[in-house]
Every structure is written in C-alpha cells, then in structure tokens.
C-alpha cells in the first residue's frame, strides 16, 4: 500500500512512463484540451501537481474524471510530457484503493442509454479499468 | 598441357612454367617450377593437384621474365585478389586456365581405413591398389572439403583455356551450412566447439603460409617489434588470438579457396572462420566474392553511410 505521497508520486511516474520534470509550463496541453474549461485542475497544473508530489489532491480532483483520454495533450506537448498518461496513472491509483468492481458488463447498456453522447471508447476503457 | 608448356618454354615466350610435378607415390604431387623443357616430362595434372599455385607467383614473378601458370577455376579468384593488391604483375603472367572436376583428398581415403596405397586409377569410380588388397570408391566421396562448395567452372582471369571439357559441374552445397549450424548454437556450445578445434593448433603456420591472401612480407606474429609476436600458442588465448587475427586480416580478401583447411596437419576446419567473415560481409554489406575481378575493393576498405550497427549480430540470431 502506498501510504506516503512520495511513494505515490513515484508510482504515478512509473505507471505513466512519463517525466513531469520535462514540463516547461507552456500551457499548450490546457490550451488544446477539449474539457479543460470544466476542469478544476487543468492539465498543465495536473502535471505541476504530480511534479510537486500533491497526488492526494489530484486523486480527489474532478479533473481526474473529466479527462476524456483523447490524448490531444500528448500529441501537442512540445516536451514529450504526457499529461493524459499522468491522469490515467492517478486514476489507477484511485481504482486500486477502491479495490473492487465498480463496473460490470451489465451496467453498460444502462450507461449508454442514460447519455447518448457518452464516448463509447470511454465506456470500454472504463470497463477495462473498473473491473478486475 | 605439357605440349603447350613445352611450346612456350622452348620458344622463350615464357622463362618458367609453374605447374605440378609427379611424386614418388600415386598421390604426392608437388607444385614445381620448370625452367627446362626436358624436365616437363615430370609435369603432371591429376586429381591430386589440389594445391593453389597462385601464391607462388609472388615469388616467381620477381624474375625479369614471363611465367606460364596453370590455374584451376577456383585458383583464379586468388590470383585476382593478388593482382588487386599489386602483389603480382599481370603483364608477367601467361595464364592457362585448366578444367577441374574436383580434387581428391588422400586423408579421406585414410580415414576410410584404406592404407598402404600403391596405386590409384582415377575415374568416376576410383580404383585403389594397396599393399593389403584393392578398393573401389566413388570419386565424389573423397573430394577435398573445398570442392564441396565449388565456385563453378568459370575462370575469372586467363590468357587461354585448355581442357574446359574436363570440368564437371560439382555439386554446389550450401557453403554456409556449418557456419549457420554453429551460429544456431548457444555461445557455450560454440565455445566448446572452437576450443576443441583450436586447441589442436600446433602453430606450424601451414594455413598462413599457403594462404594466397596472407602475403605479408613479415607477418605481425613473426615480427618481434609488433608487440604480438608469438612463435607458439603458449596458452588458449594465443590459439584464439592467432586464428582470429589471421581471419580478420584476410577478411574481405579471402576468396574461400579452402587451402587453409586442406593443409592443416591437425585437421582444424580453419575455413569456417574465414567463411564466417564472408557470410557476415555478404549479409551485412551485400553479396561479395573476393577475387571475382581484380578491380574489386575489399568491403573493409569502403563503407556505406547506412551500414548496420554491431547490434545486428544479436538481431540476426534472434535470441539474446
């Protein structure tokens, strides 16, 4: 169990395979991010927080679940930092802590019915991640 | 052949004839230089003329005269290499290309238990008389190792050809088969194989001295000032060292004439080292046959900007 923030930070960096220290704070990720307007911690600050080791705050952030995993930030980042991968990694931390199934195959039809605009890719990746 | 040699020697068109001389036994022919037309009676060309005469031209070509030399198809590759390295002057040579249907290995007769050989009749089937009775063997069973991967019956350099009809298409086996087999083994297996072979080396230097690519006036291993001179293999390392460096020094120049293995009294398959380089060179830098022409540049004397990095070695093997 990762109790301390330092350990969590290392884990996030390891899982994401990316290096937040490479970020030069140009803000391109946030500029390019489609749901950025609705985020409490916008992508560039997400990176900054990982760099600073504030993982717990990120785990509680709304942004964590607002990210569409569209990877526009990854595509555009001039420094090769992958904000989406960091978001992904923090999500995994949360899921691991929850430690049980949050999505089953039976839930999916209902989810799709509830919101027609919900990206199918999101459902698929959520199913993959939230069930074990 | 003898007639042609007689003609050229007596007319003074050539000052010497480099050919083979018959010996005291059915198989012990020696390379010989004939300067006297009378002596040509002893000249011979048979299945035991496996030795490659091209290297002798370095020494024989020093005289101020023209030399007539008889070369088998595979020998002409060696000569081309020598020509390309200025070791022999083309204008001093009169080259007669002679046919060849593969040369014989008397050691192979012996390993089949044939001893006391007093006579050999050469045909598709060899008839062998011995002190202990007669034997018959198919010719192809006693071919020299080098003839098992024949380069074909074309002469690459010559002034005239005699007895091309003598040539027979030799079965052209996969010359890289054994190299590939070794490459497929684990490093430990390869190490064991080569230790077994190279530990036999007695450093007689027969391989080096017969090699038409080993033409240094003074070999680094003989040169007390080189820092690596060694008269014998005092340790396993020196056995490896001698053979690695020898193979490296002829890499890209070795025409795979097979003389090294033929002459080794200890039966070490030295040609498998040279062939490894030939296989690598052809694989990494494009098909290459040294001595194909006298104008070819060794692949170690040129380069390509896009050459492979050394990690191609492990990539090729697909494992480690």
């Amino acid at each position: 169990m990762l109790v301390d923030e330092k350990g969590m930070q290392e884990e996030v960096i390891r899982m994401s395979g990316t290096e937040p220290k490479k970020c030069m704070l140009c803000g391109k990720c946030s500029a390019t991010c489609p749901p950025s307007m609705d985020m409490d911690v916008r992508p560039h600050r997400f990176v900054k927080n990982v760099k600073a080791g504030n993982i717990e705050a990120l785990m509680e952030s709304e942004s964590l679940w607002k990210c569409l995993s569209c990877f526009a930030c990854v595509e555009r980042c001039p420094r090769g930092v992958e904000p989406a991968s960091l978001v992904e990694a923090v999500r995994l931390l949360v899921i691991r802590q929850q430690g049980k199934n949050y999505l089953t195959a039976d839930d999916i039809p209902e989810l799709i019915a509830s919101d027609e605009e919900i990206p199918q890719q999101l459902i698929v990746s959520a199913f993959r991640k939230y069930s074990k | 052949m003898r007639q042609k040699a007689h003609e050229l020697l007596s007319s003074g068109a050539v000052g010497a004839v480099l050919a083979w001389e018959k010996g005291e036994l059915p198989y012990d022919t020696s390379p010989a230089v004939f300067r006297d037309a009378e002596a040509l009676d002893k000249m011979v060309y048979n299945g035991f003329c496996g030795s490659n005469l091209s290297k002798y031209l370095i020494e024989q070509g020093k005289q101020d005269e023209k030399v007539l030399v008889f070369l088998k198809p595979c020998d002409t590759y060696s000569l081309n290499q020598l020509l390309s390295e200025n070791r022999v002057a083309r204008e001093k040579l009169h080259i007669i290309g002679i046919g060849c249907k593969g040369k014989l290995d008397v050691e192979k007769l012996r390993t089949q238990g044939i001893k006391g050989i007093t006579g050999i009749e050469e045909n598709e089937t060899l008839k062998i008389q011995t002190l202990y009775g007669d034997h018959e063997l198919p010719r192809e069973d006693v071919l020299l190792e080098k003839c098992l991967s024949c380069k074909g019956k074309d002469h690459k350099v010559y002034d005239e050809l005699i007895g091309e009809d003598l040539s027979a298409d030799t079965e052209q086996g996969d010359k890289y088969a054994k190299v590939a087999e070794l490459e497929g083994q684990t490093p430990a297996e390869r190490f064991a194989f080569w230790r077994g072979e190279l530990s036999k080396c007695i450093r007689c230097n027969a391989c080096r001295n017969t090699c038409p690519s080993c033409t240094c006036l003074k070999c680094v291993f003989d040169n007390a000032h080189s820092g690596v001179a060694a008269k014998v293999n005092a340790t396993e390392f020196e056995e490896n060292m001698f053979h690695i460096i020898r193979a490296f020094h002829v890499a890209g120049r070795c025409s795979d004439c097979g003389e090294c293995s033929r002459v080794c009294p200890q039966g070490i398959p030295i040609h498998l080292l040279n062939r490894k380089f030939i296989k690598d060179i052809s694989g990494f830098y494009g098909e290459f046959q040294a001595g194909e022409t006298a104008e070819l540049n060794s692949p170690l004397l040129c380069y390509d900007l896009e050459d492979a990095e050394p990690n191609i070695i492990s990539k090729r093997e697909g494992d480690n």
Partner: protein, 146 residues
Amino acid sequence: MQVKDQNFKPLVVSFCCNWCSYAGADLAGSSRLEYPAEVKIIRIPCSCRVDPLFVLRAFQRGADGVIINGCHPGDCHYTSGNYFTRRRMTLLFSMLDYLGIERERTRLEWVSAAEGARFAKVMNEFVGKLHEMGANKRLGDIRCKE
C-alpha cells in the same frame, strides 16, 4: 540460479576518440556524473585507430569488457573514420560471438562531445551487464592472472 560474486569488479577498457567521446567523458566529469571506477579510458585520435589486436590484448590481459566510443556516424572529425570502425568492429564482435565469447563483453558506442550524460549512462549500463555476467573466463590468458 547462478550465484553472483558480489566482490567481482569488472575491468573495462574504454577506447575514446579524442574529438567526441573523450570530450564526452570529460563532460561527464565536469558534470560530476558518476560511473564505475572500473572503467579506464584510453585516448585515441579516432575510433578507427582501434585495431582488433588492441581489443584482444585487453581481454588477454584480464579485461572483462571492451567498449569503443567514437563520434556519431557523420560526425567523425576525420570524416570517415567511424564508418570504418563500424564495419571492422561489427565483424570482429561477430567473430568473437561465433567463437563463443559472450556478445555483451564488446560494445561500440557513438558518444558526442556533448553527451556527457550519455557517456556515464552507457558506462553504467555496460558495467552493470558485466556484473551480471561475471569475469571473462573465455578469452583471458592464464599467464596474466594473479
């Protein structure tokens, strides 16, 4: 599972060309980047100065690994030296491999004068690998052992 000798210190001879790799090693030094002290550097004008004899010599005398460092292809101070090196060493390494000498004991690397960090990284990696493999037992000369 092979038991590793914890006290084993691989001896590494590292040939560095004067123009790129030696300067890269200098930069590693001036940047205070650590790499194992087992690496000993020999300065040569160009990687193409490395004769296969030198590589074998190092193994004879007890080296556990030999690494040759030159300018990146295209950057050779002498235009073409490293291209010759690349061919020569590829063939030599392949031959050593063929004789059953472990492939990981020889290495050719391109390190520019600006790549101090890479120099240190390559050395760390190389020595790390040698640590895993243990001492060179296949290509040493027993007379040179203690």
